[in-house]
Symmetry: C2
Subunit: 202 residues, 2 copies
């Protein structure tokens, strides 16, 4: 079965969605790492009997050394797919290079609009009418990797980022497990005519 490693920094609701919808069925979540020792999401992993480890940056010489240690652990655990589920640190290019086209991220905007931090706040400030969620492969840029899935939601009246974020999280909890399932069964590939674009088999 496809082996999944998850990185998180916060509450871990996307990890929970993966545990509920994917774990033990389409793939196995074998380990969960966090950059924060007190990330509440780690408890969800332990409750599901998934091993956890924390990699606080001040235990390492620098960010690259920390990322190398995380990558080492994921490789020891023979992880096929790395899922960023609310992981707030930027991963080094060296980390990404060790898992080419195998690191997945979920982002609360319709990329390429509003990459980076505070995406929902940015979108509300811009005054958009349509919000959305993107699940994408991670490359060296900020939220710039090839798109696996996107879903839009029209919220023309909404101007409170907290409300919008809540609605988008509901979508994240569907879209991320769906993308991981598709990757686990090998349904995601590069379009030979345009490698920037992914083909997702139905």
């Amino acid at each position: 079965m496809t082996r999944i490693g998850v990185l998180l920094s916060g509450r871990g609701t996307n990890l929970q969605a993966l545990l509920d919808q994917v774990h033990g069925a389409d793939a196995e979540i074998v380990c969960v790492a966090s950059d924060k020792e007190d990330a509440p999401g780690l408890r969800r992993a332990r409750e599901a009997n998934v091993q956890t480890r924390t990699f606080p940056v001040d235990s390492f010489a620098d960010r690259d050394a920390r990322d190398a240690a995380i990558a080492d652990w994921l490789e020891e655990e023979r992880v096929d797919i790395v899922v960023l589920a609310g992981y707030m640190a930027i991963l080094s290019p060296q980390f990404i290079a060790r898992f080419p086209d195998r690191v997945v991220n979920v982002h609360p905007s319709l990329l390429p609009a509003f990459p980076g931090m505070r995406a929902v706040e940015q979108a509300v400030e811009y005054g958009v009418r349509v919000f959305g969620v993107t699940v994408h492969l991670v490359d060296d840029g900020v939220d710039s990797g090839a798109i696996i899935l996107q879903r839009a939601i029209e919220l023309p009246e909404m101007s409170d980022p907290t409300e919008v974020h809540q609605l988008l999280q509901g979508i994240e909890h569907e879209l991320l497990p769906e993308a991981v399932r598709l990757m686990a069964r090998g349904a995601v590939s590069r379009d030979p005519a345009n490698p920037r674009r992914l083909i997702v088999a139905p």
Copy 2:
């Protein structure tokens, strides 16, 4: 009744949508101008007994002089709202300043993603799964003005810009008349808490 002036450069299918859905009901299209003497859209205006005039750039000293002449004509015709319906030239800041918050444009992307020319091609090349249409007020930037309406369409499989464009044009033909109707009845205003955002009364 609210008086509408339309600028176009091409086939004028968005003008036709306005003639069919708005003209004589919620607003009156009083004049249609084009930068191109052979724009096929001009025929649609004439068939609806709407006066037309062309402003080819080589009849004027420069672009600013041309834009000033267009603005003079629109003012003579006491136009309340200027609609860009496939108008391919960039309007001068002086033109925009003469019709503050009264120039409307329709764009085949979910702005701020993919502004400018070849928006659909850009989106296909990027590999997005969700496309869409934006109707916005025109400011000095390129497709950067405040958003009136947006509508999204999920086309996860589609990689042919022509097909995508056809589907988006169907949405443009609904969204642009809807936005013009809203503006004509004064339902669009700036959000005092964030003037970059528009409030659209239901």
